[in-house]
Amino acid sequence: MTKILSISALLVFLSAVGLFAQANEIKFEQETLDNGLVVIYNLDRSAPVVSTVVHYKVGSKDENPEKTGFAHFFEHLMFESTAEIPRSSIDKYINQAGGTLNAHTSMDETVYKFTVPANQIKLPLWIEASRMRKLNVQSEGVETQRGVVKEERNVRVDNQPYGDLIERMAKKLWPGSGYEWPTIGYHEHLNKATIEDFQSFYNEFYQPNNACLVISGDFNIDEAKNYVKEYFGSIPKGKEIKRTTQNFSDLKEKVDVIVEDEKAQLPGIFEGFRGPKLGEDDYYAMSLLSSIMASGESSRLYQSLVNEKQLAVASQMIPFSLQYSGALIFVNIPNSAENVEATKNALNEELSKVVKNGVTQEELTKAKNIVEASSVMSNKNTLSKAMSIARYWAYYGEPGMINTEIDKYLEVSLDDIKRVAKKYLDTDKKIILTYMPVTAEK
């Protein structure tokens, strides 16, 4: 016992003395062009590298429910051709410059990323400016990417164990909203999409006043401003986007579905609750609660389900917060089909416990330490800094949150944790998806 006491004492000591050494501050400069494009410059001279991020505020939630998958499909099209750039050249230009490129799409955002040697700073800016309003939306590119996107869906969804999990979960968690369908879209919509559909999607969302450009790395800030002005300055401002209001009625009932999964070898139990949206006060308390429940081997779920009861190989709690809503998803992989019910019971037990008793000061301190360490360790390279800055701009309108958000976590109290546990987890209105392996012999 003395051992455990001494560790607890150490943790209390650390938190009491207020040793939360901040990460080194990330400095940046922000400007807004006449056309509404927000540009943020972050100098980091630790290596001769520049990363650029263009963050468009468009995700699958902004799609027409009859035409799903457009936001993501567009991410692919943006690597095709523009007025200045022939087909299959963007990757070639960047690779020849010794750089890398990528992009991603989620329910809320579409983000384009380049990292290049510092002396190539103009190249990604020129490409981004060209494809912002001068993309060729034509049939050859659309047809190629249609095939690629369908294969992407095959890899990510149709050929993976538990592959349609998010799709099924989202449909039940957020019915009637833009979060209801999968970002990758449905095959039938991908098949039907026409050039005109793509053009109107492009004209609506790919506008300077719907985007933020972040440049991070080793460059001269005045020169960079000139390049930005030269390339982006004369792009006309787009029309104001009329976004659909997202409505979220409360979940009305418990959903409990068994899914037979030919690709799964072990059962998977996925329990989804509604959770806080990005940036609201509950979000920080809930993130810390998730860490207490599931981060590291000393976490509650690991200790109970994996270590003591030996029911599961993994027990995770994933806070899944979006711009307008959120979810808490508990992922449990029982170590055999016999242990499915026992795993569900053990999870419920842990949830009841935390709803009833909250967490200890020691656990809360530990969770805050984890957030602190990860905020120090994650702000290391130019690309991840650029992406974070863009995200703080998109969801909070305040890029400076990259330095100050840690305070929001540190302010969370034991009562806050207990309150959010009760508010979000003390309900039987949840979605339970139980994936059961189908044996080949069947």
């Binding site: 290596a47 007025a83 960047i94 081997e297 992989i333």
Partner: protein, 688 residues
Amino acid sequence: MNKMIKLLVVAIIFSQFAIAQDYKLGEKPEPLESKKFEFPAYKEATLDNGLRVFVIEDHEQPMLSFNILMPGGDALESKKDAAGFAAALIMKGTKTKSAFDISKVLDGLGANLSVSNSTEFTRVSGSSIIKHKEVLFDMLVDVMTNPTFPKEELDKIKVQAKAGIKSEKGDPGSLASNMSKKALFGLDHPYASVSTEETVDAITVEDIKKYYKDFYLPNSSSMVIVGDFKTDDIIKELNKKLATWKKGDLVKLEIPAPKPMPKGIYFIERKGSVQSAVRYANMTVPFNDADYMNINVASHVINSSFAGRMFKIIREKHSYTYSPTGGHSSNRFYNYSIFGSDVRNDVTDSTIISINDEILGDLYKNGPSKEEMETIKQFRIGQFYLSFESSGFLGSLIQSYDFKGVPIRMIKEYPNQYDKVSALDVQKAVTKYLNPADGYVIVVGDPSVKEQLEKFGTVFTYDTDYKPATGLTSASIDADDLLENYTKALGGEDELKDYDVIQATGIVSMSASGQNLPGKTEMIYTKTGKMYRLVDLNVYKSEELYNGTTGWEISTSGTIMKEGNDLKSMKFDADPFKYANAVKHGYNLQVKGKKGNQVVAEMKEGDKLIETLYFNSESYLLEKVEMLQDTPRGSLLVVVNYSDYKDVDGMKLPTVSKTETPMFNMETTYEYKVNAMTFPDSKFEPAK
């Protein structure tokens, strides 16, 4: 102009401006003057316990991280899974701390300390905010010097390991990669062996302790540490902190030679797959071989992110795939190239054709284009420089070069060496090391995909346990009855003894690489056990002679006297009813089961499989024989089909045989004569 018209004109002009998006961008911009690359500073030191330490300062954020590399791994463990379980269990208890205590301290600081095992080494990784470094070092030392390897924790890990094994079977990528390595190295070679329920069950605490004693040694290991500290201070601190981790006797690094499996296509049946995982696997060279870099560049030309041919052709030209995968390994001792892609079921064969023709075939014939070489070089060399943004990159390179016995100064030479590789070097590397005929194609997919593969050669089918998928049902007959029925079908025991000489003459048609070679064959068997066999394809002639005790092969390349196993198999071949008499020849037969209307039996010598025999389940005549033959190109599967049995003097003999190999096919039509002639002894010996 009235006011309305004016407004209309303004509106039209305005709307045109609003629609026109034609902002001027000009040509693709030129790069600015390039900044000189400065190789980051590092310092090397050896601690008193023999641990070599590489230190890199990085003051960007107040943190530190380290990696300790301990040579060993799967390749050197004396019992399967000992290295993996040692890594998993070492963090599960020390003399003064339980598993929970350890995780609680680390989690409580947001610090990380983990131990992982791989093919050639075990790695200990740690990181924390700089202010917690002492706690992290204390924990490292405690774990490395006082582990207790508790049995009850081992039992828990075993349950999880077994579940992990099960879950890996659901992942087509893992199945394909594991099967690729098994084909290259042999099923149970340490570079290819996969944990199973049995290997997990068999591991004991003693096995783990032995591995720990042999390989967790500072004097065989290296440590890279990066962070916000002063180099000299951290070396002093480590020397003090790690003093209790003591030197030990080093184990010699010896790895068994690979035993590659027969060449061909390896297919793993995974029911319900909507995509096939297609992989090409070839063995290459050790890291310090002169050809290693050439193969690396070739592998990048084939599959290097957006710039490689796999992306350009399989994804962007044909839309068969989302993401090509794989590349050239960078192990110390044995390396391989495994690359491929997950493609939709109906284009599995088209993908193989495309990789064979447009990627490998074209590189073999024409080499890479000038532009391709330039792009790949600029990309890869650029990447190399970019990666230095993370000081961890330099750390891992230093450690990796050090482990592989390559001087660390060569890291600086990398861009230069990469740049020196020519298009011809790449073409040669593809020809010599990445030729599909010398390697394997592995496919994991739905059973329905199998028929698309058959046109490419021999298909070996496996299940998700990497066991041959036999598709056999119970045969309800034992080996004795099977042989008795077969003997009866051939005419009965008495008839098969009732001859002095059997003579067969045949017409041969051989096809290889699209060409047909006509020829003839002749075989003579005597009751006294002598044999003469001729195959004459005009361009190639071979005679086999056996005089009852000694055998020879005479061909265009000279006369060879047969010895050992070759002689034994010649004696067996000299019996025209050799399979009916297999037991007398010292082989044993085991019935494996029934496949369609054939009974499948294995003929073995002791435990060693010699041939697999397929008998018709109604007539009991032999229809097919499969055997593996060693050739200079590795082991090949040879299949011989027998048909059109005719009655000759009371004996049933096949008049058509079809031989299939990955290199050629041969069809022969026979005519038999019994006791029609006699032959002098000189017919069965080489001319003096």
